[in-house]
């Protein structure tokens, strides 16, 4: 067991994948609520402004990572959100423009401070934005005799804190996300909750910055929850699927990156995009294929109803023998032979129509279907009689 654990912690492969998965888990747990609230781009703003927080905390304490950095960055994230809301409150600037004004300004101040004071330390805007997950196993803590990468420790802490936050405040978060007005009326503090969420998001961003970097972090916040949102209607399932997508992306991204010898963090983020595309294409309910199939089914159903109405209208006509034959569909409904055949086959299969030689005869069910279209108001009546 001990040997297995130390082999695990000694394996750079495992540590890199673990870090990536932890980033994904921590980010997508919070991202779920951001995506549902329509505030995804706040993660973009926050992850850029933390450059400012990181350099300020470094200037004050000399620490480039660890708990002080995480708390400092959390405060920067809150400052970003606060300034954005302040700008929006003047009613001179729209919310999205406010986001786009605040984070570049804070990011710029951060970069200039780095230019002026921190030229030679390992903080540079490049690392902050892009990260270097391939080297996470270089800096380690010794914990219980094992050498555990610092990134794993801090990402693990953030993932646990976020998980605890979501688990303990699940009901409150759910209510505040879907019905903020009701949450307020019931005496919850949705604003406080949302600041808590964003503070944790900022903390997670700084814990993640030197592994995957600020911009790729955005992918882990937004993309897995969005993929999950296309697969389920349940909040709890959305959280679980988001986490699963993150883990799969971290593992698959790592191996592909090694295979092609390219950026690991970048490949992990690309894999979240691949998962999203799969969900978009094959989702059971909101997926493109499912929507396409549903649309086709609806068209077929409508055509069958049209046929039933046509037959019903001419049922007692003297010309019924001319109208209610297969050949008439082409002239009177302007259907192609292929379509006529398809619709007829479908109607026969559903028992709306029977065939007597060339003649098409409505069944009782077919007559009912026609009446439902022609006299929709009668439907309620029948239901009562039945």
């Amino acid at each position: 067991m001990n040997a297995m654990l130390s082999a695990f912690f000694d394996s750079p492969d495992a540590m890199v994948m673990l870090t990536g998965a932890l980033v994904g888990i921590a980010a997508s747990l919070l991202g779920t609520f951001l995506v549902l609230r329509g505030a995804s781009m706040l993660s973009d703003a926050i992850s850029h402004s933390i450059v400012f927080g990181i350099i300020v905390v470094w200037m004050l304490t000399g620490q480039a990572s660890g708990p002080v950095q995480i708390i400092g960055a959390a405060l920067t994230g809150l400052l970003t959100v606060f300034l954005t809301e302040l700008l929006t409150a003047t009613r001179r600037v729209k919310a999205d423009a406010a986001i786009g004004l605040v984070f570049p300004a804070l990011f710029s101040i951060g970069v200039l401070l780095i230019n002026l004071f921190a030229r030679d330390v390992h903080i540079d805007e490049h690392t902050v934005l892009l990260g270097e997950i391939g080297f996470v196993w270089l800096d380690t803590y010794e914990i219980g005799g094992y050498l555990v990468p610092q990134a794993v420790v801090w990402m693990g802490v953030m993932a646990l804190v976020n998980l605890a936050f979501v688990a303990v405040l699940f009901k409150e978060l759910k209510l505040a996300t879907f019905d903020a007005a009701l949450a307020r009326a019931l005496g919850f503090a949705p604003a406080l909750l949302s600041y808590g969420l964003l503070a944790l998001l900022s903390g997670t961003a700084v814990a993640a910055f030197d592994s995957v970097g600020a911009i790729l972090f955005i992918a882990f916040v937004i993309v897995p929850p969005s993929a999950a949102y296309l697969l389920t209607d349940r909040l709890s399932m959305m959280l679980v699927i988001g986490v699963a997508v993150s883990i799969v992306s971290a593992i698959a991204g790592y191996w592909l990156a090694v295979w092609f010898n390219v950026s690991i963090g970048g490949m992990m983020a690309v894999m979240t995009g691949v998962c999203f595309t799969l969900a978009l294409a094959f989702g059971p309910r909101y997926g493109m294929l499912a929507q396409w199939a549903r649309q086709r089914a609806r068209l077929g159903e409508n055509a069958a109803r049209t046929l039933a109405v046509h037959l019903f209208n001419h049922e007692d006509d003297p010309q019924a023998s001319e109208e209610n034959v297969t050949a008439a569909l082409r002239e009177h409904l302007h259907w192609s032979p292929a379509k006529s055949r398809d619709v007829l086959a479908r109607s026969l299969a559903e028992g709306l129509v029977t065939r007597a030689g060339e003649r098409l005869i409505l069944t009782d069910k077919g007559r009912q279907a026609a009446r439902d279209v022609l006299e929709p108001w009668a439907r309620g009546d029948r239901a009562i009689k039945a």
Binding site: V93, S108, V223
Partner: protein, 375 residues
């Protein structure tokens, strides 16, 4: 200072910065008014894979190839945002975030792929991430200038159409304008602006260059033409400022300096612009509430006089305070200055009293008449 201006590199940087400022100011105005501020952010991040593909196709750091690549992937990202927003249950912000992060990730992957292939010119690609103004060549300026001219010519040519699509797309549609094509053109032009700025400020800070000049200009005017002109001016001024300060050699990056300059212009505009400026609005509101207070005191005096059937009824100041729930001294002083009331004594009481002057009675009657100012 003048020796700086004579420096060849600095001249290049200044011309580039001015071009960027003008183009992003003009095109950003439309983006901000159409509530598409963050589209610029997404487009600029999505330009990265295009930069790499342009490099891979051309086999060298050829600016035209790189910019065409950037334009193509930027436009593709914009299309994806549009498609995701229209055909899925995702909101605009999530669609923007997805396109931004996935395209950028793809760009990073391609960038490392090119670096590992060990090409000599790969160093030049990184400069597009954060912008490296000093690396701009004179030949790059011709490309940037051509794009800027193209974008400005389009805006001039389709001015009326763009204006209508920006403010009232529904009406534009009823007039039979090709709204979809015009919107696509505007989005493409934002991509053009992004492409011009890539070398100056990099993909990360381009968002600010699209948004900030337009927001600043918006505070000073309600007319689109003036706004676009001012935005170009602000953009150009901050570009020149950033270029000059970074050239003084303390190792400060150009992009952040430009962004800070334009952010300062935004802050000043929000505070001091006449009309929409916050300080003027606050002064106006204070003035309004003061006037309202004076009018209320005047009408109270008038009613007291009317109730006592005595036009010269002396009202005690502390009684007026009690009526209005707070000090009325300043309001009475203002009324006295305008000659509407006058102070008096009401023996044997020692406290100050006030009576309406004939002018004050006339004013109060005018205000209390139906259709007057005070209800």
């Amino acid at each position: 200072m003048f020796s700086l201006l004579a420096d060849y590199t600095i001249q290049n940087v200044m011309i580039g910065a001015a071009l960027l400022g003008i183009v992003s100011g003009v095109l950003g105005s439309f983006a901000v008014l159409r509530k598409q501020s963050l589209l610029g952010d997404t487009l600029s991040h999505a330009a990265l894979p295009g930069i790499c593909i342009g490099f891979l196709v051309a086999g060298t750091r050829s600016l035209p190839a790189i910019l065409i690549g950037a334009l193509l992937t930027g436009a593709l990202a914009a299309l994806i945002v549009l498609a995701l927003t229209r055909s899925t249950r995702l909101k605009t912000d999530a669609s923007l975030g997805i396109a931004l992060s996935i395209f950028f990730a793809l760009g990073i992957v391609l960038l490392t792929f090119i670096q590992n292939a060990g090409s000599a010119a790969q160093g030049g690609l990184e400069s597009f991430l954060f912008g490296q103004a000093a690396a701009i060549l004179r030949s790059d300026l011709y490309v940037m200038g051509a794009i800027a001219l193209l974008a400005l010519a389009l805006v001039l040519l389709f001015w009326k159409e763009f204006k209508l699509v920006t403010f009232d797309p529904a009406y534009a549609r009823t007039l039979g304008l090709p709204v979809l094509a015009l919107e696509a053109a505007l989005t493409t032009m934002i991509a053009l602006a992004v492409v011009v700025g890539l070398q100056m400020v990099g993909v990360v800070l381009m968002a600010a260059m699209i948004i900030a000049p337009a927001v600043a200009a918006r505070q000073w005017t309600d007319r689109l033409g003036v706004m676009v002109g001012l935005a170009a001016l602000f953009g150009m001024a901050s570009g020149l400022f950033g270029a000059l300060v970074s050239a003084t050699g303390r190792g400060l990056a150009t992009g952040p300096l430009i962004v800070l300059a334009i952010s300062a212009i935004v802050a000043l505009s929000l505070l001091f612009a006449p009309g929409r400026g916050l300080i003027f609005a606050a002064i106006r509101q204070r003035e309004n509430s003061r006037q309202l207070r004076s009018r209320r005191v005047l009408s109270t005096l008038y009613r007291l006089a009317a109730e006592h059937s005595d036009p010269a009824y002396p009202a005690e100041q502390r009684m007026l305070d009690a009526y209005h729930g707070a000090g009325t001294a300043s309001a009475l002083k203002r009324l006295e200055d305008r000659g509407l009331v006058t102070g008096t004594r009401h023996h044997p009481e020692p406290t100050p009293h006030w009576v309406l002057t004939p002018k004050g009675i006339a004013e109060a009657e005018a205000e209390l008449a139906p259709g007057g100012n005070v209800q």
